[in-house]
C-alpha cells in the first residue's frame, strides 16, 4: 500500500475480510446470532471495530487469505468459507482513506463450541449481530448483507444443522431458525415445513431425560453434492 501514491490511478487496493456467525446463549438463556470483530489499532478508523481481514497477499488465493487472517486474529478455523460478495463502492471509506479499497468478503458459520474456543481479548470480541456499534468502513452494511444471505439460505438449504449437534429435537432446530430469522415460529407449521422438505429424518431415539414423553431425536439427511452452495 506504500506505493499507492504512484499507482492510484489504475490499481485500487484489494482486501479480504470474513463475517463469522455463531449462535450463542444470551443473558435470557436464548440463542442469539453473534459475530467476532477486531478493534483497529491504526488509522483510519483507529479504535473502531471491524471485520477480521487484511490486504490480499499476492501469493495467496482469496479463500486462503480469508482463512489465514481469520485464524491469525481470532484463532477460528471454520471448515468451509463461502464467498459472500465483493464490496467496492468508490465512497465506502466515507472519505477517510486516500486510497481506494475493494473488499472481497467471505462468510462462514461456526458451532457454539468452536466459538467458545476463539480468542477473546481487549481487541477481539464477539458482538450480537443485531446490536453492533458503528463499525469501521462499511462493515455494518456488510454484516447486514451477510445476515440477509444467512436468513435466505436457512430457508432453502441445510445450513441450520451447522449450529446443532449430530442429533437434535425439532424444538432445538426451531430455536435455531427463530434465532437466525429473528422471529417466533409456530411449532405445528414448523414441523410440517421441515417434514415437507425432507431435510431431517427420525433417528428412532428420543432425548434422554426425566420427562414422561421425551421428544424424538432427528438427524440431517444426507447432503447432495453442491446443495449447500
Amino acid at each position: 500500500m506504500s506505493s499507492w501514491a504512484t499507482s492510484s490511478i489504475e490499481t485500487p487496493t484489494l482486501a479480504v475480510s470474513t463475517v463469522i456467525f455463531a449462535l450463542r446463549p444470551n443473558g435470557d438463556g436464548c440463542l442469539q446470532l453473534a459475530t467476532p470483530l477486531v478493534r483497529r489499532i491504526r488509522a483510519p478508523f483507529e479504535g473502531q471495530w471491524a471485520l477480521p481481514g487484511g490486504p490480499l497477499n499476492t501469493d495467496e488465493d482469496l479463500a486462503t487469505s480469508a482463512s489465514h487472517t481469520l485464524r491469525d486474529t481470532t484463532r477460528l478455523e471454520p471448515r468451509y468459507l463461502e464467498q459472500l460478495y465483493a464490496f467496492g463502492s468508490v465512497d465506502r471509506a466515507g472519505g477517510k482513506l486516500a486510497e481506494r479499497v475493494v473488499s472481497i468478503v467471505y462468510w462462514a458459520l461456526v458451532g457454539a463450541d468452536e466459538a467458545d474456543r476463539a480468542i477473546q481479548s481487549e481487541n477481539v470480541q464477539w458482538f450480537w449481530a443485531d446490536e453492533l456499534p458503528t463499525l469501521a468502513f462499511d462493515h455494518n452494511q456488510i454484516i447486514e448483507y451477510a445476515l440477509g444471505r444467512l436468513r435466505n439460505k436457512i430457508e432453502y438449504s441445510r445450513i441450520a444443522h451447522v449450529f446443532l449437534s449430530e442429533t437434535f429435537t425439532l424444538a432445538q432446530l426451531r430455536e435455531v431458525y427463530e434465532a437466525v430469522l429473528g422471529r417466533e415460529l409456530d411449532p405445528g407449521n414448523f414441523r410440517r415445513m421441515v417434514e415437507s422438505t425432507g431435510t431431517v429424518e427420525e433417528t428412532g431415539e428420543r432425548l434422554a431425560g426425566t420427562r414422561h414423553r421425551p421428544p424424538k431425536l432427528y438427524r440431517a439427511t444426507t447432503i447432495t453434492a453442491g446443495e449447500t452452495k
Copy 2:
C-alpha cells in the same frame, strides 16, 4: 498496471468482467444459450476470445465499471447486472501474466431482441455457451460457473421470464427451461411444477392462430421485492 513492477508485492490488479446470456435460435430452430465474447488484440492471450471487461477505474463503482465496459465493447445494456463471483486464484492466468489479476465478474440475461441489436464484428461475436473455444485466462471456468448459477436460479426464481415476452404459453416457457437446463422436460410434470410454484397465472387469453384449440397464454405473477436476487 505499468507500476506493477514496483507494487506487485502488495497490490494485485483488479479487473471487472461480465458474462451475458441470451437464448437465440440455432440452425435447428431450437433455442440455445449464447454468450458474447471479445477477441483480445494484445498480449497475453492475443487473438483469443475473452469476456467483455477491463481494469477497474478508481472512480467507478464495480457494477458501473461492468456496465461501462460491456456497453463500450458490445453495445449491450442489460437493465440489471448481478455480481457473480470474484475469481482470484494465484495461477489463473496460467503463468502468462507477470502481474496477478483478480476479476470481479458480473452476469446478466438479455432478451433475444437486445441480443440482435448488439455489436457483431470480427472482434465481437456470440458463441453457443456449450460450444466455446479455449478462452483467455480462466474464462471458460467462469462461464461454466455462471451457467451453474443460471441453471440453479431458474429453478427457484422467475428469471426464465426475462427470455420471454409479457405473455407466453407453457410450451414456450418449457422451451426456455429446456434450453437453459440442457435437457428435455416432461410436459405434464413441467405444468404441475409451474402451477405449484405460483410464478405464472393465466391471462384468460389464448394464443392467436389457426389451431382448433390454441394454447392458453400466461404471464408472470408479480415479483416480490428481493425475490429475484
